[in-house]
């Protein structure tokens, strides 16, 4: 009887292992084959381009991962980027010193995170809905500030974010650093471990004396700050704050943590290397589609299939773990 149980456990462990890693195996195979077919894919300029495109997704997905790990969800991340950047642009155009406008905008991002955290904690509904409301509020204010046009970002911001170190823009290093710091925070610090505990089993965590309100607030606030910063990176790259700043970011940045092995049910998964791998998968898909000259419709189809597969894998994995 025991032997059967052990055998079943082993089989289950194998299944979970494969479900956790199948995406990476497919990804590596794809990269190798595609690289052979299109040697330009492995060129230094293309790798730098891939990493440049990854940094914003990496940052925002890290913020989202913090929230997802608590068992929550933040749909306002993209519009947080828009609003923070719009406020930065507005203050700057009003003559407020650059550094002060950055600090105030980061505080705005923090405020949005705080509001989301309070609603996610105290309202008896899944956080998706209240953060959707925040999303629309941020979008409304952001659009009102920018007035619909391209609002050119200050040259200082462009210069700062696009500073090169060894041929790589500094925002790539910042994005990687944020992922690693968050990984250390989550795995080594008490508050980080409590984030996992709340996401895994809120009832037990509470019984163990973990202050769930405080922990959730910290996660949402950190997410808000990271998103505000990601907004600066995004607008510095494009060169302007526009109506499409942060648009659809919430969709991509829900998928990236899942691609990286972080469970949407909360409490499980690692930010490092999960977020980095998840982001690279998404940018590589886009990059390779551009290289083969795919039509616009194919992008949506491929993204849709990837999202569907990843969600199915996550659902099966969660089921097996239960």
């Amino acid at each position: 009887m025991n032997t059967t149980l052990v055998a079943e456990e082993k089989k289950k462990a194998r299944q979970i292992f494969w479900l956790s890693n199948i995406v990476y195996v497919v990804f590596i195979c794809f990269v190798v084959v595609f690289g052979i077919l299109h040697p330009q894919f492995f060129s230094l300029s293309n790798i730098i381009s891939l990493l440049k495109q990854s940094s914003v997704w990496m940052l925002v997905s890290t913020g989202m991962a913090l929230v997802v790990l608590t068992g929550g969800m933040d749909m306002s991340i993209g519009m947080n980027m828009l609003l923070s950047s719009a406020i930065m642009w507005l203050l700057n155009s009003m003559g407020v010193p650059f550094v002060l406008s950055i600090v105030i905008s980061i505080l705005v991002g923090m405020g949005i995170g705080l509001i989301n955290g309070l609603m996610a904690t105290y309202l008896p509904i899944y956080p998706l809905l209240p953060t959707l409301a925040t999303m629309y509020v941020c979008k409304g204010i952001g659009c009102a500030i920018t007035g619909g046009g391209n609002r050119l970002v200050p040259e200082q911001l462009k210069g700062l974010i696009n500073t090169n170190i060894g041929g790589f823009p500094i925002h790539i290093f910042i994005a990687f650093a944020v992922v690693i710091v968050m990984h250390i925070f989550l795995s080594k610090m008490e508050i980080g471990r409590q984030i996992y505990a709340i996401g895994d089993n809120p009832k037990t965590a509470k019984e163990k004396g973990i202050n769930d309100v405080k922990i959730k607030l910290i996660a949402y606030i950190m997410c808000g700050v990271i998103c505000a910063f990601a907004g600066f990176v995004s607008t510095a790259q494009v060169g302007a704050v526009t109506l499409s700043t942060g648009e659809h970011m919430e969709l991509y940045c829900v998928i990236i943590p899942v691609l990286g092995g972080i469970s949407l049910a909360g409490g499980r998964g690692n930010v490092f290397p999960g977020i980095i791998l998840g982001t690279l998968i998404m940018t590589t898909i886009s990059n390779s589609l551009v290289m083969i000259g795919a039509s616009s419709n194919l992008y949506n189809l491929v993204y849709g299939v990837v999202i569907l597969v990843v969600i199915l894998i996550d659902a099966v994995k969660t089921h097996l773990l239960k």
């Binding site: 007035g147 619909g148 046009g149 609002r151 494009v238 302007a240 499409s244």
Partner: protein, 359 residues
């Protein structure tokens, strides 16, 4: 208790009675308005529903349904407000956030609010048809501004943006820019908008058509921007790498993408103004303030100006004519203009985008 019930029933009956009367009144009003519309269309100046024999009816309440707060539509909304304020017309503006269903509901709302005419910049050419039908049934005039519905039956006036003409002008302007720069063949990177958007599709199709017909333009790559700046930036980065920067012209179906294009070229130290080695012929569509700035700085060659103010002026004028029972052309075409440095100097403030440059 019985007395209380009796009182409640009495109140209910009175309320119902009043509501029915009011409802009849409204219906009668609508019917009358429908009849009036019929009359005005058929006979001419018999527009006033209160007294058909006296003065022609004037437009008092106008609806404006726009797809988003993008600068072009913002310019239209601002101009509409200015125009209506000057002419004593109450304006109700609704913004659909690029959601066709939301726009449908908003137009229903404008009808129920008693708008006599609605200027519509539709999100989707097919989805708008049911709204146009509702307007027709309610006796509300519709002016489709800039975007043509799939079926014109229920649209009273179409103020045409004429994407075909714009693309033809864009191709001509690019070729002119090539001649000025001494380039024979143009290798063009074409930005493409969201292919569920009518303007994006037309500006893609017609550009390809005229580019091919020119015999001097080769489209070497497309950037599927999804009408999103971040996406445009990312995909143009990829395109730049895959081509190793080997192209000498860029076509933008909306001027706003110039910042994303400029960022990528700047990052690759491949961004030059007129006369410099890495100068490229860049032509856009819309006539936005951002484009004017880049043209003035010598980085962009031209933009095809479809004047937001002219579009809205033509639309409201059409609405006023229809309500007054005057005849009006089914299709109105505001003038398009290729704007280069010399046009900016020549026309100055008359170009709508100039007003938004200080932002």
């Amino acid at each position: 208790m019985k007395k209380l019930w009796k009182k409640m029933v009495l109140v209910l009956v009175v309320v119902l009675g009043v509501s029915m009367l009011a409802g009849c009144g409204n219906n009668a009003g609508e019917e009358k308005q429908k009849d009036t519309q019929k009359d005005t269309q058929e006979v001419g100046n018999k527009g006033n529903q209160d007294d058909p024999e006296t003065e022609p009816k004037s437009l008092t309440r106008l609806g404006l349904a726009i797809p988003s707060t993008a600068l072009f539509f913002e310019a239209e909304a601002n101009q509409a407000k200015k125009f209506c304020d000057e002419n004593g017309i109450e304006l109700i503006t609704v913004i659909a956030d690029n959601d066709a269903t939301k726009q449908h509901d908003q137009i229903e709302d404008l009808i129920s609010k008693g708008c006599e005419a609605i200027v519509i910049v539709q999100v989707d050419k097919d989805a708008i048809l049911s709204s146009l039908e509702s307007c027709k049934e309610a006796g509300v005039y519709t002016i489709c501004c800039g975007r043509q519905p799939a079926d014109m039956t229920n649209c009273d006036v179409f103020v045409s943006a004429n994407n075909e003409k714009m693309c033809e002008m864009a191709v001509e302007s690019m070729l002119e820019g090539a001649d000025v720069a001494g380039i024979d063949k143009l290798k063009v990177v074409e930005f493409v908008g969201k292919l569920s958007d009518q303007n994006a599709v037309e500006r893609d199709d017609y550009f390809k058509q005229y580019a091919e017909a020119s015999g001097r333009i080769e489209i070497v790559a497309e950037v599927a921007s999804e009408w999103n700046q971040d996406t445009a930036y990312s995909r143009f980065s990829d395109v730049y790498n895959s081509l190793n920067g080997d192209f000498n012209a860029i076509y933008l179906p909306a001027d706003s993408y110039i910042t994303a294009a400029a960022s990528v070229l700047q990052e690759n130290n491949d961004w030059g103004s007129e006369g410099e080695e890495n100068y490229r012929i860049i032509t856009g569509i819309d006539g936005s303030s951002t484009a004017y700035q880049y043209i003035m700085d010598g980085y962009m060659y031209s933009t095809i100006n479809s004047d937001a103010h002219e579009f809205i002026n033509a639309s409201i004028n059409a609405a006023m004519s229809l309500v007054a029972g005057e005849t009006c052309d089914d299709v109105v075409e505001p003038v398009l203009l290729t704007v280069r440095n010399q046009e900016i100097e020549e026309y100055g403030d008359k170009l709508y985008g100039i007003a938004y440059m200080d932002k």
